[in-house]
Subunit: 462 residues, 2 copies
């Protein structure tokens, strides 16, 4: 598809040093966090928006498919060049924080900026950028916007979409569009920024992001609730929130995760803990922090909590969080390969959802340790299989499909924060009917009539 | 365009009592808050989503244009049948609160529910629906979603879009689509709900809305800052917010509004007040309320405030708010007709924006009293003219166009909350370039290829 003539054109356009077409580099850029591999035919690093526009225009005219890529840390293959063609690497040059506007509490960044770099830069001046996906140390803000990244703090502070005020982006034909403003309110024209968020790089290439910042809360404390069972903990989640608690985070770990943390890492956790809820609360005044802790403690205890622990200082807070941060690596004691999905249900459905998910695991004989962002109904479900056993892999995927079906039946979604990409594309027809899938295709067509931009993702045509 | 055969079809479909085609009713449904008149050829009241689907399908097949309408309280003509055809009245039957789900803090409503009816219903059970457009007593939630309504509380609590979790809607071809979930997080598929919000009824007819609710804050107090000049007040707006204040509302009134309130309503306001800032602060604990008041007072005084008044009880709070609530009716002392626009700029640009707006008024010899939601940069600009003087009307519209130009030049928007509709459609090319306007057309085409749904709005083709 991509011949020497095309490579030559791109080398002239952006400089030889910004075009990789040698085997070693193509292999290096062939995978993301899904571990699935698709080799691109070239990797190009645009230096600026004008480069992005020229590259896309050329690709559009020559029917060359092109996939934008940030850090490649996605869990569903959004940045994989599954149809070959060009990978557009945004992390090499387009990685600058352009402005931190303290007067309007706004940051303007290029898409290749790493999430944590922005967090640190704004905290230095007393401001706060809340979205904190687990990948915050390496994922890029362009990727965060394209997948609408969540994180631990979403329970109180919301998702990436809640902070995007404006975008600049390039359509597949090279047209540069501006969407949104550096204003809190803007109702002129269609909400183009709204549809670009979570569109997984299939509609346009984002070249600049204007993000809302908020004042950094002055006080933070951590808490942990210890429950006899998953069911008790899940009831405590929605009942404490309905009682008025508004924690920054409310993270969940089930009994299997607790067991794994003890066995693999020797973490000291209560003998009889059937489930844990852990999180932070914050406020501008210490009384607000205390109000939150009191509300949580009361509600947790009414729902069977054996113990409610408060971390009053940073060291104790780190100790409480250590367990949660190690949940994911610890559970490999239950199987060499985890098939992990990030389903989300209405919070009141969490008790039933977990019960039914475990039942699916039992049916196939798999352990299914679960943890995640219970405060917003988003659970990371891990079906643990022996990765060298074909039958187990096959059954594991069947189990995942059954889990998706029960989640959708309960009013939930295939993905709370990881997106669809290639991994979940086969399940789109569980969540959407023909009419809805057709509408997605019409929207894709409106932005990208030649279907050159990240084709084949999200259940859209190759 | 609409003949007896069509009317007959609709009467059979929804019942004769739900189809108006007599002159008196057509006149009654010919205007909205813009006072511009366009007569529909029939008004139809669907009883449910199935009716909406059948009506749209028929209109699509017969190329009949159709305009959805809530309370007709919009300020830019979004609900006006500017191309004739059918007005689809959502307020008669589809006006039920279907569910208040306290466990998930979610309300499910039909589009014809009046904003205040929902506010009251949820407050009765300790919950809170923040968006409070000035039309809250009569505007419908379907209209609020279609225009992305804001309000006084947007400074802290955001806009309608921040509360929409899911929508059901009917496409012009009759297809019923579901967009979003009763989950906090959902990144499966394109953000269809996101593009329907603020689309002014041009893409689909909304038939059901799932809204996020939050716990009702326990404490509220009001404040008023009195400033010698508009410039001082406008500086205090962004500086107090950047200093960490997070008031529920921060409303602005300029010296002309203060003068009008005194002269027309005899309201007792300080003799030398050049501008006022008024608002509420709230919190779960009284210390948070006090923190907010202290932050505001300090910052206001650093920016020239002569006085900072706190309303500790409900009666005093009503007194402070009485001025703001009467701002709009009082300013008619400056001209029989107001040409009012709701521009929005980045908050730090407010001082310069106001200065330049007054200069435009001076150039033409018009008073331009301004008030509005300064906390989110959204100002209601009123060019006051003699409505019986053609030259003044002509010059007034020229002044408005100049104001739009300077606002866009300063990074602002044509509309913070009123939308574009018919009124601001002529100005869309000030805010958007050809490429962006073409993209809007492509999106409209994707949803509504026959262009039957509310055509001619937002600068889109008739």
């Amino acid at each position: 598809m991509l011949d020497k003539k095309h490579i030559k054109y791109f080398e002239t356009l952006v400089g030889e040093e910004n075009v990789y077409s040698d085997k070693a580099h193509l292999i290096a850029y062939s995978y993301d966090a899904t571990r699935t591999r698709y080799e691109p035919e070239a990797v190009i690093f645009p230096r600026d928006e004008a480069d992005v526009s020229a590259i896309l225009k050329y690709c559009n005219e020559h029917q060359i498919v092109i996939t934008p890529r940030g850090a490649g840390s996605g869990f569903t293959g959004g940045a994989l060049p599954s149809q070959g063609g060009i990978t557009l690497g945004m992390e090499k040059h387009m990685n600058k924080i352009l402005e931190i506007d303290m007067e309007n509490m706004v940051a303007v960044v290029q898409p290749g900026v790493i999430n944590m770099d922005l967090q640190k830069a704004v905290e230095e001046v007393g401001l706060f950028y809340p979205p904190d996906p687990a990948s915050e140390q390496y994922s890029t803000l362009g990727g965060n916007v394209s997948e609408n990244a969540g994180g631990m703090r979403a329970a109180k502070y919301g998702l990436t979409k809640d902070y995007v005020m404006a975008l600049r982006a390039v359509r597949p034909n090279g047209d540069i569009i501006r969407a949104g403003k550096r204003t809190i309110k803007d109702v002129a024209g269609y909400n183009i920024a709204g549809i670009l968020i979570a569109s997984e790089g299939t509609l346009a290439v984002i070249t600049e992001i204007t993000l809302k910042l908020i004042p950094k809360p002055k006080f933070t404390k951590a808490y942990m609730g210890i429950f006899p069972s998953v069911d008790d903990a899940m009831n405590a989640v929605f009942k404490s929130l309905a009682a008025g608690a508004n924690p920054v985070a409310m993270e969940f770990m089930d009994d299997l995760v607790v067991q794994a943390l003890k066995e693999k890492l020797g973490i000291n956790l209560p003998e009889d803990a059937g489930a844990l809820l852990i999180g932070d609360v914050d406020g501008n005044v210490i009384e607000e922090v205390e109000f939150q802790l009191e509300t949580l403690e009361k509600s947790f205890k009414e729902n069977g909590a054996q113990e409610f622990i408060i971390a009053h200082d940073a060291q104790k807070r780190d100790e409480l969080w250590y367990a949660r941060r190690n949940a994911s690596p610890s559970i490999t004691i239950f199987g060499s390969k985890k098939l992990n999905e990030d389903i989300s249900v209405p919070r009141s459905m969490l008790p039933e959802a977990l019960e039914r998910i475990y039942a699916v695991g039992n049916k196939y004989g798999f352990k299914v340790p679960c943890f995640g962002h219970a405060g917003d109904g988003n659970i990371h479900v891990n079906v643990m299989v022996d990765g060298s056993d074909e039958q187990q892999l096959h059954d594991g995927h069947k189990a995942i499909e059954e889990i998706f079906e029960l989640v959708v039946e309960m009013g939930g979604t295939l993905s709370g924060e990881h997106g669809i990409g290639t991994s979940k594309a086969p399940f789109m027809n569980i969540a959407f009917n023909e009419v809805e899938l057709d509408l997605f295709k019409s929207i894709k067509q409106a932005f990208d009539p030649n279907n050159i931009l990240n084709p084949g993702k999200m259940g859209l045509p190759n």
